[in-house]
Amino acid sequence: MNEEIIIDVQGLNLWYGENHALHNVTLPVANRKVTALIGPSGCGKSTLIRCFNRMNDLVLGCRVTGDILYHGQNINGPDADPVELRRKIGMVFQKPNPFPKSIYENIAYGPRVHGIKNKRDLDEIVESCLHKAALWEEVKDRLHDSAMSLSGGQQQRLCIARTLAVNPEIILMDEPCSALDPIATSKIEDLIEELKKEYCVIIVTHSMSQASRVSDYTAFMYLGDLIEFGETRQIFENPHKELTENYITGRFG
């Protein structure tokens, strides 16, 4: 890997109560690339992605050891502030979770909590983020309608726009298309292609074809272990590990 490493996971272990969910995971993530995490259900890929912005802090009985270096600084360190961290590392969830507010308010929420009050600035952020999320044309005439009135795919793109509005460096996507139909999925995939020009994207996905379509690097996980990591083409065409090959060729999972 010749690219700039933006996140470096080193020896990460995670427990949910007694359950040892991640075993000694080590993984570099390149800036302005798409890294996909694949593996069968329960392999820990969602758990891992939630470590990057410390969403696991909200989970009861969750304990983490090991380092995650973000620009060389450990986000699990005692002086790291999860609130500041999350504004640099945004997240899109499995199910679209727009707030029960208007489309405009959904996007303005992030900038507002970070202290932007000027109406003109907010308008500008809302418009540019909706453009970036390829949603502007569809909603520009009804910015003040409830976000709940959008379709599932539109809601998910709204959530992506919402994430962009706080200007993060990294966007985490936890199975962003699992609740969407094929057309909405392809729109999100196109969007990811656009996003990686400016952002680092880490995506968890169930679909191997999706991983091979959108990602530059792929990590295969199995039962809490990171089995293999490499360029996507290499993982899919010439996996080094037998377990990876079995999964890629659909023998289990």
């Binding site: 504004r87 945004g90 997240m91 707030f99 919402r162 706080v166």
Partner: protein, 649 residues
Amino acid sequence: MTIGQQNPLKFRQKRRPLEITMHTVWFICAISSIIGIFFILIFLLYDAAPAFLDIGLIPFLTGERWDPTSIIPKYGLVPLIVGTLLVTIGAMIFAVPFGIACAIFIAELASPRMRNILKPAVELLAGIPSVVYGFFGLVILVKFLQDLLSVPSGESVLAGSILLGIMSLPTIISVSEDAISSVPRYLKEGSLALGATHWQTISQVIVPAALSGITAAVILGIGRAVGETMAVIMVTGNAAIIPSPIWNILSPVRTLTGTLGIEMGEVAVGSLHYHALFGVAVVLLLITLIINLAALTVMKRLKSSQTGGCSRTGVFSCRMITDRLSGIMPYLPPGLTALLGLFLLLIGLWQGAAGMLILYLIVRLVDRYCIRQTVQKIWFSLVTIMMGIVTLILIFILYDIFSNGLPYVTIDFLTESPRNLGRGGGIFPAIIGTFYLVIGSILIALPLGIGAAIYLVEYTKENILTRFIRTATDLLNGTPSIVFGLFGFTFLVLFLGFGISLLAGMITLALMVLPTVIRTTEEALKSVPDSLREGSYALGATRWQTVRRVVLPPSVPGIITGAILSIGRAAGETAPIMFTAVVFMQRRLPDSFFDPVMALPYHLFILATNVPGARNNQYATAVVLLFLVIMIYGGAIVIRNHYDKKIRW
């Protein structure tokens, strides 16, 4: 214009004074709930201790006479405990079958439109103040029993049982109905798909699956009956005797709560009698604590069995108990019939016993020889008839009070002071007094309760402290209102020296409604899905920002509903203000927080029990009180239904 242009490395811990302040504020609110129950316990025990020491714990609990005013005072609790037991058992014999039948009707048989009428109606029934029930019991029920059975006085165990049964019906119906409705749909569909009739599905799949919820409902109903004061005072005759023979349901009795309500107002502060009354309160509190803990345990088991988790194994595991319960299910109907028949035989109503026997035989024969569809028809009509009876009782109570009272509710009645011991004049000071009391108690309870709920739901993970606060809240919730009255009297009126005053009444009422506020706010906050919180946190919002901007706005309707229900409760209660805030006759309005006031429920109580010849004004006062409470509850129901329809996640 873009934000976050600073060096990405700068994400070190920031100081956020607002966050810390809010956290502290909510924590203080939460801790107040604990302090409340702690103070109640301490002060009751402190005042009860001399009685336990002087009389001795064993003689106090096992003495067979309660006669504190004779030359040689006797302080024995047995007659009071027996009275409470008899009245409660009687109430349950009436309320359990009717309550479960109504719950089945509402959950399974009623059309959606009918359910939308019946459910709020049941909630309204729960909102009717106990003093109004008591008034109805005194004027109608007692007279009716007197004429029907031709006895000198209808004030008896029977009257108390029927009235308490009616009063605990709403609790039993609504909790059982919740349990039945929350039985997963696939269980019902699975049974129907096997060709079972609807009734077979109800009796063999749905009700057994909802059994722990129904059990909890019955326990909560018992708690309601044990803790009730005003209605019991008005219809049970209040003679501290053990009925002889014990099953003589026409004998007057006196309950634990009744003793407190009657004697507390007349006792010399600091005398042995005074301390003995606090002893009674401690015993009452213990009984209700046990009942409520039992209900909580059953509820918890319900929760764990529904989520599939059951950690314990062995004899006391939930599976074993559920299995045993379903094991005895088939023997329940004949057993209950036999018991009830025996009971009727013992009290000398052999006609009743014979009727029971015939009824039971008919049921068995029908079960044996009719086809399933016919059986279903018979059971459904039975359930419908029972629902009809309950509805008729409610309508009759309302009709009687409104038809007799409305003609006397005039402008003068609402705006004048009472004259001639309340026989003439109006109830203006009582309306204003109730208004002040309610506003004051809500202003105290609402910020504290909402703050405590925010702390419990948003600021902590489950730990010992939250469990402690939750248990304290639940216990506070089940404490009989008369116990709050005693606490208010000893702590606020005497210890803090407020005297019989508006302020003391406000604080006592606030303490009483605090659990309702906490519970409903908690429910409202919990109904906001976690995905919204995650979405907000993932954008880098702090905790307070998330709570204020994402969680609170959609919870507002739920919180308002809770507040309104608390207002209704505070407006209708008599027992907590009886010794802390109210006087019967006071022409002028209170000048300060330290003045006593008049209040509607207390006014009705005194008019009904102590003032002969004030029938018209009694009814008119009842109408005003009932109207007030119905409006308040109706408002809460309308707000809730409106937002239930509107919010979709």
